[in-house]
């Protein structure tokens, strides 16, 4: 029987199941991989590393789904703002998702390098 590795999507919920929320979910989990953040800090961090501004409604829709799936957890509220932190389940799901994305990225870049000259 094949041995499963840590990070196998079968270990827990996968981001693929998020459908159109997979994009915001990946950005949020990547941001929280750096440490707990509240909503506004998350928005600014994502804007700085991905050049994408998550609109408030979209951000909280994704946060609620991630929390329901146990990928993030809410910490004690501080001054009406509640920070969120990545859970072990979330870390596994993020790693699996990013590994799959890297596979596609590597193949795409390799083929571009061979067949196309880009600026």
């Amino acid at each position: 029987m094949a041995r499963r590795n840590a990070g196998d999507p079968a270990d827990g919920p996968a981001l693929a199941g998020f459908g159109r929320y997979a994009g915001p979910a990946t950005l949020i989990l990547s941001s929280l991989a750096d440490g707990p953040k509240h909503g506004y800090a998350l928005t600014k961090d994502v804007e700085s590393f991905a050049r994408v501004r998550l609109a408030p409604g979209t951000l909280y829709e994704a946060l609620a789904r991630l929390e329901s799936q146990g990928m993030i957890e809410a910490l004690e509220a501080q001054d009406r703002r509640r920070p969120y932190q990545l859970t072990a389940v979330g870390a596994v799901a993020l790693k699996a998702h990013l590994d799959a994305q890297r596979l596609v990225t590597d193949v795409g870049l390799r083929r571009l390098a061979v067949n196309w000259t880009t600026g």
Binding site: P56, G57, Y60, E61, R65, A74, R81, R82
Partner: protein, 363 residues
């Protein structure tokens, strides 16, 4: 005066200023349960966002869309159960939040089923009346197929509705017997009362059934007469007050009272189910029935659509004198198809959400 710049960490000024008022207004898009959980922190984010970018046309649209999704999620048509802050453990079968969300999905599905039964009965009654007076030459004709298909589908939906009600009745009965019926007695009484009105009124007005005197039907005459009487309000006569005025006054009154009583029965049943705190086992059983109900609703829609799409003409064509046949489908039936389609779409979404909720609980 320009809005003050947000502080470096995005901390807004709670309770004051134009930004807070706009944030509070935007927050109204979301349902109460969502606001209880995320309202305060979300308002803080909105205040910071508004103070940073006063004019962002996409923001209101994004919040409205998010609010709509949250509202659909609150009634179990999509999404996942909201988690209480600090709930560290993964969702479990007995988890209150999961149970509440699955129950909400099943209640929404039940409402769709009730709508399908109501509008389905209206079309079914016309088909069965048509069958009584001029039986189609073959069940392969559109009207013949539609009558058989809707009869099978409506019977199956009724069986499913009864099967779904039994464990709920058992739970409510146990709670009442053990004096733990807090919040269940009033809606249960309202349900019984509304059901009694529909039943008594249906039995009374079925005597005016136009099918009486027909020659042998597909279903027992009494059943056909009752479904005709209880779906009398689904009628295009509402658009023709002159013609409606020629109806006997008690019949017009019944046309107005019956849908109100039916709505009261559905709302009361929804409240009972929500408050009954059904066990995980019952929820799993009801979710399986929900999938079956969706399948049968597809059959009902197919039968009705087939009839309406062909204009309801049986093999015999028109009646003598150029009058439309008894199987003639009118605009009200086209509207009925639209309502059935919408009910089916919502029911399928709700069934999927309930199944996903149970799956989440099982891990």
């Amino acid at each position: 005066m320009s809005a003050p710049a947000p502080s470096a960490d995005g901390g807004g000024k709670p309770g004051g200023g134009d930004a807070a008022r706009r944030a509070a207004r935007l927050l109204r898009w979301y349902p109460r349960t969502w606001r209880d959980r995320y309202g305060e922190e979300f308002a803080e984010l909105l205040i910071s966002d508004i103070e940073e970018r006063s004019q962002a046309p996409g923001r209101s649209l994004d919040v409205a869309r998010g609010g709509l999704v949250a509202r659909l999620s609150a009634v179990g048509v999509c999404g996942l159960p909201l988690r209480d802050p600090g709930a560290m453990a993964p969702a479990a079968v007995g988890d209150v939040a999961v149970g509440r969300h699955v129950t909400a999905s099943l209640v929404s599905l039940g409402c769709c089923l009730a709508v399908a039964l109501g509008f389905g009965a209206a079309m079914w009654s016309q088909l069965t009346i048509g069958w009584q007076w001029s039986r189609p030459a073959s069940t392969a004709s559109a009207a013949g197929f539609a009558t058989v298909a809707t009869s099978v589908a409506m019977s199956a939906l009724l069986v499913i509705a009864v099967l779904a009600a039994l464990p709920v009745l058992g739970t409510v009965g146990r709670r009442i017997a053990t004096r733990q019926a807090g919040g269940l007695l009033r809606p249960s009484a309202a349900l019984v009362m509304a059901g009694a009105i529909v039943f008594a009124g249906g039995r009374h007005f079925e005597n005016g059934w136009p099918g009486t005197g027909g020659h042998g039907g597909l279903i027992p005459g009494g059943v056909a007469a009752f479904e005709w009487a209880t779906s009398l309000s689904v009628s295009s006569y509402w658009a023709h007050p002159g013609a409606l005025g020629a109806f006997p006054a008690p019949e017009v009154a019944w046309m107005a009272v019956c849908p109100l009583a039916q709505a009261a029965a559905v709302i009361s049943a929804a409240i009972v189910v929500r408050r009954a705190a059904l066990s995980a086992r019952v929820l799993a059983f009801e979710t399986r029935l929900a999938a079956a109900a969706c399948t049968v609703m597809i059959g009902l829609l197919a039968g009705c659509s087939c009839w309406v799409a062909t204009g309801g003409q049986p093999a015999g064509g028109q009646r003598s004198g150029g009058q439309p046949s008894l199987f003639h489908a009118g605009l009200i039936d086209v509207a009925g198809i639209a309502v059935l389609s919408l009910a089916l779409a919502i029911a399928v979404q709700a069934a999927r959400t309930a199944r996903r909720g149970l799956g989440l609980a099982r891990g």
